[in-house]
Symmetry: C2
């Protein structure tokens, strides 16, 4: 079985996106959001049959851990109520898709975050998604400002109430920022990768996983810059008198395989223990084209992983076993 | 000949650092900075003989392109006058070291940047350093705020007056941030790498090098996350309908070899054209320890490059030729 731990619902029906536009316009105007539109099951099927599901079938991916479009979370827009209503709408849609295709999609929650709003206020939606909608994890935005980085680091005690809920529910978080308003950054080209690297270094500097031994994070996009600079991070841990990474961070942190060329995947598997790697492709979305150097989609990461010719036990870990360990609620249904 | 394009003067005499502390304290108190202290030539010799020069001799590095300590630039501290006086003091010290060891050190300027101050105000110090002190380049900070990223991107026209001066003087800039006050970031662990990735993506999105065909940037730390995600960047260029990277960015952008483990160096040389790579080690400073996995210093990047067993022509480019092409003023003296 092949589980893709990193898929976003980037092909939502137009009515869903139109409602978001209307919601924000209403908020700007000081009014109330319109009623959420009727979206039929057929609309939902159509939205995935020709894209996500088609690609999964073509590539031989059985199950995608599926979350709302990351760039559209846009936690910096509107206010706390706007963000909550938007997260609920997005999560409900994910739950419906997972309900229509229970063998192919399982949900991961978008959280209703807003700049300056305590993360404890996000717990109710996490609980609803996990306990009522059957979700197996969440995406946690370390910078809900949209590229201004004015929240405390992920290791600040302000985040602890949320981590307590994650531990109680036994769900991991993928560290995932969203669209940016800061013109210095491009969402998928720099903001995402920077956030990955930033989160890893925060974990390296802290005792977070002493406080929460069973807390788990997936750092997407192959861990940002981290595996490429693995020697730098090992050396910094040493300089900062921190324990070795294997003992202090990699006990609780996992990387996906969203690295869009063979040399990058080769490096990732050379330096990171196979127990810390989860298959992922971040499709459909971040990079949609075909690599002229290979003739295949950039995001067809299964090809790169296959080319490694891993021992079958290792391949099974990357494709399935590690995901079941990091997202144990996967095992309740599947 | 082996040229290290990325060395910082991290072992300055204590009197220099003490003056900086006094300068900032005076500014805080609304007074004037004390007179800059007398620092003897022997003090300067002592500051490099046992560290930078010793390591260069041990490793067989002939010449270091030497700039003030990057983390101490701290452009966010004080005001424009404070930043100018500090940059002048730092650059003067570099010039003296280069004067004492003309075969081993050549200067690169710290710029007197400050948040919100036009970059045009930095041109005078660049001119002084190049025309009077014999420097061959500068370090340009894309985020003088110290990790708050509130300046315009490097491709904004606000930077153009400075680029005109760089082109006229025929000197490149290394993109290099400094210490951070934003608790989300660690200077050498995430802020530096994030800035590298950010700058590359800015260049990818813009026509900067159409406007300045001879403008040259070195992106240090092996290009941040870029080579590891080379497929992602190639794919993004395609998605954004930008020209191929080889035609639009890599004509003017170069990476150093400050990647502190063999797999990272292997990847760098596998995906990036050898004409775009300059030998560098970022020593003494960013990571000072010995890698328990190899028994050698993490920052002894020459070992990793040697292990590639490059053809001698390629090795000569990485060690010397590319540096002479990117920093042509090197050829005036050496």
């Amino acid at each position: 079985m092949i589980i893709d731990c990193h898929g976003h619902y980037t092909t939502v029906p137009a009515a869903h996106t139109a409602w978001r536009t209307a919601q924000l316009a209403a908020w700007e105007a000081g009014g109330s959001a319109p009623a959420y539109p009727d979206i039929s099951d057929d609309d939902l099927r159509e939205s995935v049959e020709g894209s996500q599901l088609k690609l999964m079938r073509e590539r031989g991916i059985d199950l995608t851990i599926f979350s709302p479009r990351a760039s559209a979370m846009a936690h910096h827009q509107g206010d706390e109520g706007v963000s909550r209503a938007w997260a609920e709408a997005c999560n409900n849609l994910i739950a419906r898709v997972a309900g229509l295709y229970p063998d192919h999609f399982v949900g991961v929650a978008q959280l209703p975050q807003s700049p300056g709003v305590p993360i404890a206020n996000s717990i109710a939606e996490l609980r609803r998604c996990v306990l009522e909608l059957g979700f197996v994890g969440c995406n946690l935005n370390p910078d809900p400002s949209g590229g201004h980085w004015d929240s405390p680091p992920l290791t600040d005690r302000g985040w602890y109430p949320f981590y307590e809920a994650m531990v109680e529910l036994d769900v991991p978080a993928m560290v995932h920022v969203s669209a940016v308003t800061n013109p210095n950054f491009h969402a998928t080209g720099s903001a995402y990768l920077n956030a990955d690297t930033t989160a890893f270094m925060q974990f390296l500097q802290s005792d977070l996983f002493k406080d929460f031994p069973s807390l788990r994070f997936v750092i997407p996009h192959g861990g940002g810059a981290v595996p490429y600079h693995w020697g730098r991070f090992r050396g910094l841990a040493d300089m900062l008198k921190r324990p070795p990474l294997a003992e202090s961070v990699m006990t609780n942190v996992f990387f996906d395989t969203c690295v869009y060329h063979q040399p990058g995947i080769n490096l990732l598997f050379e330096v990171i223990d196979v127990d810390n790697l989860l298959f992922g492709s971040e499709m459909v979305g971040a990079v949609r084209g075909i690599d002229p150097e290979t003739g295949h989609y950039f995001d067809d990461t299964k090809r790169y992983v296959e080319a490694l010719k891993l021992p079958s036990d290792d391949l099974a870990k990357v494709y399935e076993g590690n995901a079941r360990r990091v997202y144990p609620r996967l095992n309740r249904a599947r």
